[in-house]
Symmetry: C2
Subunit: 404 residues, 2 copies
DNA sequence: TAACTTTTATTAAATAATTAAGAAGTTAAT
DNA sequence: ATTAACTTCTTAATTATTTAATAAAAGTTA
């Protein structure tokens, strides 16, 4: 059948992820010969999807022509949700915002209207952008909870009777929808555009209100049998009898979540600890601010702030030690919104690894702090759409799964 | 180039693992059309590698002809080592022993002659079998220690100066050699011939003197970046201050290894515990026997024996709970030599999961006991050879990695 | 600056692989 | 029994893809 359609989409996908590639690079990536790749590329240029972008430096011979996607051939709608706030952005093929990132409150707990509100907001933003829907490759959504990305189901939030949340949004917005767990999308972002690029085995810790985990195993985002892999924050690690939100006690989260950190800071101050922090800065009403203040104090060298952050970092490190024993990754990346604290945590985590890892395992594992930072989840949501891009039009191709 | 060579090897491989397949099955598995697969099959029949083995039952239409490997077209040398004893067997294409399994003592610690002794023993057994070397696909070896299967290196045992242990044996025996960690080979055996067959995500616990782990992730044996993945027995899980053989304290192994179980039994008896066991049966000189006696007593309902076994089982279960949170497997399989104790352990492990797992994760995970049992490692070693079979002659095929 | 090596690009010829159509064997229902 | 539905098998026609040969562009060397 029309296999060239598949190859073309594959080329588009690779150009999206790599930004600029030569014909030989692409031939390698799509596992097709150079003449065939050339043919596909010229078709794509005819169609106006791809442009030549000059020559790469010579490596000792003729310089290769480089190809890129035209930035306006397609767009992706990226959505990053947490339990209270949702962000939406529209990105072009260079991952650049074409509208400002919209931020609005959308509580997920006990809110049966959340799916409707989400769909309407997405529709509104697309409409306002003026981009025609046939120019949008799809909608990628990162959300908390137990998410099965393949089935498109969120088992924890965003209940929609009779249909999956993906189907629901998809029929309302009339575009393909892909969802996944927030931590996993952050890992995907790191794999495609961040510190895990070119790495085959990487673990990405999502430092946020909880401690999430996304795993890159053998070059692919790992999801597990039901799509629930990576429940790092609920591994039973402590005998502290502290009840966790999940109903069990002793979860990693009970000693490492940012809320616990703030709580400890507050108790410390009450107990008379010396610090440049004051109780007002740690107000329970604004945990976001409270955490930023603690990190800022630590950055300025406040001993007490460093101490409580280090304690949490050390405990995360104990968890990471387990991960390293089991999965032997090449690199562990601290990412997510709380990665601002990453630099402070690097030392205590390393300390925990020195104490709890077999040296042969820990010496080969780097600990890195993400450079993607705040935007990781939105980037990951876009990457999710483009990962699936070749599948969309190919569903009718019988031999799709027989080819690269 | 000669791609048909690759396809033929691929077919041979699949026939080895599945024993009997129709042309349509094979077409599916090698991702080639039916006419092409037919062509390859008839070539293989001409060469005398494959035979028709009658018809399969109809599924509502014409019955498919089934194909199998001739059992004597090729053989595999399987080696299963532990720190004291090494087993060697020669298997045919139906995984049947063609010689008796040879068992001999070969201590690995502080024994610089071990590699030489191993190579000589292998040579001797091949010679004695009368099988010509060109009929042997290769040698598969399972061994304890930190093993990098891809590089063919064992970092813990079997030191050979200047060359890897694989290269060493290979040049001495003049056959391709593949090695891997014992627990991982057991997992491979379960994947190809045991309880993990057709499963995409399975964890295989190797119950032996330690507690090993082999992971099947996305249908493949997972090895990690340096090949060290699966160090389950050394995850830091206890605050018991018991020193582990690895130098750290609190490792899972310090509460679950069979030696610890025997030790506890002995101490219990000394402390006056009521049991049908007596101290003589638990002699330190023969731990193998001691363990069998404990399991036997438990099987007969001895309360004390059940108690200490359950305790170890529960602690393994705590470790398994962590695995399930992180990897969300479809099934957890208790395998290896100690899997005789598996049935006794099923209950306490399940108990630990109920206490330490988020229900959504544990309810979807089955706990199974292996049926492969004692032979798992030898089977896995053979499977390792055949997994690599298609690569061996194809190394010169430029496009090898571009095709299925 | 010419000769040579290296890398990329283009084309035509050769081969590899699939599709499509029809024949043949089974089951099940009328 | 006969027919319909379905699966497997076989063959020829068609299409897809690669190989190999050549040209073109850069760098390297003497």
């Amino acid at each position: 059948m029309e296999r060239s359609l598949l190859y073309k989409r594959r080329i588009v996908k690779h150009l999206y992820f790599s930004n600029m590639l030569s014909c030989a690079d692409l031939s390698d990536k799509i596992h097709k010969s150079i003449p065939l790749t050339t043919k596909m590329l010229s078709k794509l240029m005819e169609e106006g999807t791809v442009t030549e972008t000059g020559y790469a430096a010579s490596t000792g011979g003729r310089r290769p022509v480089m190809y890129s996607l035209k930035e306006d051939v397609m767009y992706v709608v990226s959505v990053a949700m947490d339990q209270l706030v949702t962000q939406i952005a529209i990105l072009d093929m260079q991952n650049r915002n074409v509208t400002n990132t919209e931020l609005f409150e959308l509580p997920l707990t006990k809110n049966p209207d959340a799916p409707t509100a989400l769909a309407e907001k997405i529709n509104e933003i697309i409409l306002r952008s003026g981009i025609p829907k046939n120019k949008i490759a799809g909608i990628g959504i990162g959300m908390p909870g137990f998410v099965n990305s393949v089935k498109g189901i969120n088992y924890t939030f965003l209940e929609t009777e009779g249909v999956t949340i993906s189907q629901y949004i998809s029929t309302k917005v009339k575009l393909p929808v892909y969802i996944d767990n927030d931590s996993r999308l952050i890992a995907l972002a790191e794999l495609k555009f961040g510190a895990a690029r070119q790495r085959k085995n990487a673990l990405v810790i999502n430092v946020g209100w909880g401690v999430g985990l996304g795993m890159i195993l053998e070059g692919e985002l790992f999801r597990g049998h039901d799509g629930f892999a990576g429940e790092f924050s609920h591994i039973p690690l402590f005998l502290n009898n502290k009840l966790c939100s999940c109903g069990k006690s002793g979860c990693l989260e009970t000693e490492t979540s940012l809320l616990v950190v703030i709580e400890k800071a507050r108790n410390g101050l009450k107990g008379g600890k010396l610090s440049m922090l004051n109780e007002q800065e740690l107000s329970a009403n604004n945990p976001e601010k409270a955490f930023i203040n603690i990190v800022a104090a630590a950055g300025k060298g406040d001993k007490f702030a460093v101490e409580i952050l280090s304690e949490a970092g050390y405990n995360i490190g104990r968890g990471v030690a387990i991960l390293i024993h089991l999965l032997n990754p090449e690199v562990v990346i601290l990412s997510g919104r709380g990665s601002t604290a990453g630099k402070i945590w690097q030392a205590p985590i390393q300390q925990a690894l020195n104490e709890h890892c077999i040296p042969r395992l820990s010496v080969n594992t780097e600990i890195e702090v993400s450079v993607l930072g705040y935007n990781a989840e939105l980037t990951g949501a876009a990457a999710l759409v483009m990962e699936n891009y070749e599948r969309e039009e190919i569903k009718n191709l019988i031999y799709e799964n027989r080819m690269y």
